[in-house]
Amino acid sequence: MIDYNRYIEQLKAHEAPVDHDLLYTKVQARLSRSFPVPRLALVGALAVLALAFGIYYGARLQQPQAAVTDDEVVMSYVFESEKNIDGPVVSYVLANW
């Protein structure tokens, strides 16, 4: 039986064959692939910024719109739900019906 100490000596002597030139090329390829990370981070940050702007302007579009007529009557609340329609526009319409 191969004894433990002899086995350890075999392990010490063991070294797998290697083509260092090929490995160096592979390492460099891995390194160059790892460089896009900052670029990806920048693209990601820009995408988040664009999304934030989108959400901000989207939310603004949802706000009650206002406009001024010749008589300076504010037309508003076009996006308000029915139960919330109460205010100067409704008062004006009702008064001038």
């Binding site: 039986m1 191969i2 433990y4 392990l11 070294e15 797998a16 490995l23 390492v27």
Partner: protein, 170 residues
């Protein structure tokens, strides 16, 4: 010279001075050709990432040894997890049964080490092959000496049994 160019220059210096040592270590830790090459690349990728942070408080070879050992341990743990998942999926017949990458004949000497878990394997190699002291291993792996000792004891026992078994089969 840009910071990136400096890092690349330092990297090449470290790489060419220590590539053989790193290869020797990873060829003991990983079994198949594919795994060895993968682990070797992983180590150098980490070296490249950490080189700018290296303050020279220790020898480059010590720093590199620690980095290689820790990268190898993470690599082996990840592999072990993937192997378990493959076995479970094969058991559930989701995938064909697969023992993982096939070993080439030059790794026959590594066969008994396959029975060890990643921590036991690294500890046994560090202690008996690389002849590191238990305290040093504990420090490098961030483990109490008692844990290192018990893992080493168990690992030696498993390897001895494997050697006996292989002898009976021959």
């Amino acid at each position: 010279m840009t910071e990136r160019a400096v890092v690349q220059q330092d990297f090449n210096g470290v790489y060419f001075a220590h590539k053989d040592k790193v290869w020797r270590l990873v060829s003991r830790y990983a079994h198949s050709k594919h795994d060895r090459e993968d682990l070797f690349q992983e180590v150098w990728l980490r070296v490249h990432q950490s080189l700018a942070k290296f303050r020279g408080e220790s020898e480059v070879s010590t720093w590199l040894y620690r980095l290689t050992v820790n990268t190898s341990l993470s690599f082996l743990k990840k592999q072990s997890r993937q192997q378990r998942i493959r076995q479970v999926l094969a058991g559930l017949r989701f995938i064909e049964h697969d023992d993982g990458p096939r070993d080439e004949p030059d790794t026959a000497v590594m066969e008994p080490l396959k029975k060890l878990n990643p921590r036991q394997r690294i500890i046994l190699l560090m202690s008996d092959v690389e002849e590191k002291k238990l305290e040093e291993i504990g420090k490098l792996l961030d483990l109490p000496v008692g844990t290192v000792k018990s893992n080493l004891f168990r690992a030696r026992e498993i390897v001895r049994k494997e050697l006996e078994k292989n002898d009976r089969l021959q």
